[in-house]
Amino acid sequence: MGIDFISAEFDVVRDDARCTRCRVCEKQCANGVHAYDEKNRRMTADETKCVNCQRCVAFCPTRAIKIVRNPNTFRDNANWTASVVNEIYKQASKPGVLLSSMGAPKNLPVYFDRILINASQVTNPPIDPLREPMETRVFLGKKPEKIRRRPDGRLDCALEPQLELALPILFSGMSYGSVSYNVHKALATAARETGTLYNTGEGGLHKDFYAYGANTIVQVASGRFGVHKDYLEAGAAIEIKMGQGAKPGIGGHLTGAKVSGDVSATRMIPEGSDAISPAPHHDIYSIEDLRQLVYSLKEATAYKKPVIVKVAAVHNIAAIASGIARSGADIIAIDGYRGGTGAAPTRIRDNVGIPIELALAAVDQRLRDEGIRNNVSLIVSGSIRTAADVVKAVALGADACAIGTAALLAMGCRLCRSCHTGKCNWGIATQDPALVARLNPDIAARRLINLLTAWNREIKELMGGMGINSIEALRGNRLMLRGVGLNEKELEILGIAHAGE
């Protein structure tokens, strides 16, 4: 109260006539917003604790609750917005770095929304995906410059290790620790069922999930948590995480509170200790060091697994990607400015990095200009929200897209952006056993499968409309895209024409 008081962001509006005092909302809210007032026999709410996760709204049997924006405001000011002012109050009260989670919510241009897709009319026919085969299978990995022949003259079909995906979508890295056991289980199940891969993130691989290895990308991040020989061998591919779109240039921090039991065992660190990944890999201060790590990992796994290098989209991304493409890596994963996170310093999340659309376009073009596009495949993420985003990304030049936030949404996440508190009411970004139990991994897996199946259908519809019946003929097909409301520079970087041209 007083000088430190920050007015609640939301109001909890309860229709008292509808409320039956069943107290479901009270049980569902890990933030302790709802309480029962015995004396007056009515529900109360402490809206200052509300993060608007919509859990109570979704579970109230009489639909009595609405969470609305608190109409209380400061005097209007386009420069000193309420969030800026409140953040100053918070930091004046405690000298801390502000933390946030999920992708940057700022109102910057979303280029995907300013790109439109083509369709066939008259001069060539659209293709009906219900009648004709429509192919979305993707291979990720290096393609050699020249074909080779065996002594008998037939093609020598040996290639460096490749990943085969039934559709151009993977799940992004989300560590066990930042998300729950059940989330990993659901992701692994869905990846296996749909013919794609999920990604361990930097928290190691729980022993129960080694069985899903063929559908797993194991990550090696700067903290090296949970990295050992069996782990590297367990996955279909190894990802070196150099950076992440939500927090380029910094490492990670999983608070000790989340490092409980299995999380600590999987990460191979003591229970309750903070898991801090340093900003750089301390063995990679330069591109030639990266090359050494790439080859160490390949050596350790007998050159049987493709190595992915994941980087955040930063200003110089084209040159960085070009360096990675020559480092021996098989795949580059680029994570854009809007990429999600379980926890990141707010200032970094909201102000560092560049949008994935521009990064992807620049990288794809640079690699082609240098004639090395076939050295690597490109996975992009941060943020891919719909099948249309996937189609646009592929047409800009991506081989595949990775989804994190969209996958969490499918599992129930309401984008309340409070993952860093560890009290996710949807059982996703939490290690609290009672909350974890809220997410049924079988149902969550089913929902993920539904989502990917639906997106794949939509991708096929969009492709068919363009008269394209195989995803490889869409990759880099920028003629299929037009910009709306973009300036010349933006169009030039995206390598597309304006609508009407």
Binding site: T123, L155, G371, G476
Partner: protein, 368 residues
């Protein structure tokens, strides 16, 4: 068999026709004209052209360059550049006759040239690569000069007009070769200009194509990584480069190259024997950027043969017929019947099924 009902009237329908004698007998230019003329309705007068093989027996060891010039200044500049790279054994105007329908003709020249061995050696590349690079460089950097034919013992003749008018203009009846291809154009996405007419040629490759491919930019951006420049922005150009890249530079067979551009569906591959599955999967994976989607029927001409290929869904008509040792290919059966009314057989190849016809071994003097 035959083309599907309704396709003939599709307004983007170009017309293609080809003929080849497997025994290497000379076929006069008038024969192919008879075929393509029948399909007048499939063109709109904005482009027509022909490629003949075996038409320059007296100069068969030299690259025959056909060049359009905007003016004599462009010619002088280009000839200077050519002299720097080649020995020019003959330079002449390509003979033409006035045709009221053919207007705005550029200067049209023909050169028989041999690359200067010292220049080829200095670049450490083979002769054909040398010629290909020279052509690409001149076409992309010299204003007002455009080399539209560059093979040995072969030549392309094209213009803005209906194909039969173009044939009359170039006096096609004065040439005879063992194979011919022809094209009538109905352009929808590029303006009708002389260089944009078909066939498109590079070295001894020539391509005539009917269709509008939906994979164009994917194909273009892939192939441009390997030194090709698609300045015409036509499907035909990129298809020619793709075959040049796959066959000449990668050393693939025509059949393998066909599996790249008109790859079998994964479901089809899954039904093949294991060894073939492996090869087809490898081919699709390796050259995924060269898969061509959308409608096309093409005839690819090369020294000693022709390849005819449809897109994998067969979205464009194309028929192949035989009579004795001669094979005929055309968008419509009517065109074939106009060349040869009495046929031994006629069929419509499946989508993605390459039809490769080559002149019998030893028949051609140049050893093809």
């Amino acid at each position: 068999m035959l083309q599907k009902e309704g396709q003939v009237r599709i307004p983007s329908g170009c017309a293609i026709a080809a003929v080849i004698s497997k025994t290497g007998e000379k076929i006069g230019g008038e024969k192919i004209v008879a075929g393509i003329r029948t399909m007048h309705e499939r063109s709109n007068g904005l482009g027509g052209g022909f490629a003949g093989y075996g038409i320059y027996p007296d100069y068969k060891d030299f690259y025959a360059l056909h060049v359009f010039y905007d003016d004599n200044g462009a010619r002088t500049d280009c000839e200077n550049a050519l002299k720097d790279l080649f020995e020019i054994v003959k330079a002449e105007n390509i003979p033409t006759r006035k045709n009221p329908a053919i207007k705005d003709a550029p200067l049209i020249w023909r050169y028989f040239v041999a690359p200067l061995p010292s220049r080829v050696a200095a670049m450490q590349i083979d002769e054909r690569e040398f010629v290909a690079r020279a052509v690409t460089r001149i076409n992309s950097t010299f204003r007002g000069a455009y080399i539209f034919s560059s093979g040995k013992n072969t030549g392309t003749f094209k213009a803005v007009g209906f194909p039969e008018e173009v044939a009359d203009f170039y006096r096609l009846e004065d040439y005879a070769g063992y194979s011919w291809t022809a094209h009538g154009r109905y352009p929808t996405n590029t303006p009708g200009w002389w260089g944009g007419a078909h066939p498109f040629s590079l070295l001894d490759w020539s391509v005539v194509h009917n269709g509008e491919i939906s994979s164009y930019d994917t194909n273009r951006r892939f192939i441009e990584m390997f030194g090709y420049k698609c300045h015409l922005k036509t499907d035909t150009e990129v298809i020619t480069y793709i075959f040049d890249y796959l066959v000449r530079r990668q050393g693939m067979t025509l059949r393998e190259a066909s599996s790249v551009v008109a790859a079998p569906f994964w479901t089809t591959i899954a039904r093949k024997p294991e060894e073939e599955q492996r090869e087809l999967t490898y081919i699709r994976n390796m050259f995924s950027g060269l898969l061509i989607t959308g409608p096309f029927s093409i005839v690819l001409g090369f020294s000693g043969g022709l390849l005819a290929l449809n897109d994998r869904l067969k979205l464009r008509s194309m028929v192949v017929a035989e009579k004795g040792n001669t094979t005929y290919i055309a968008s419509e059966e009517a065109a074939i019947r106009a060349m040869e009314p009495d046929l031994d057989s006629i069929r419509s190849p499946m989508g993605g099924e390459p039809v490769i016809v080559t002149v019998n071994k030893g028949v051609l003097e140049d050893g093809n």
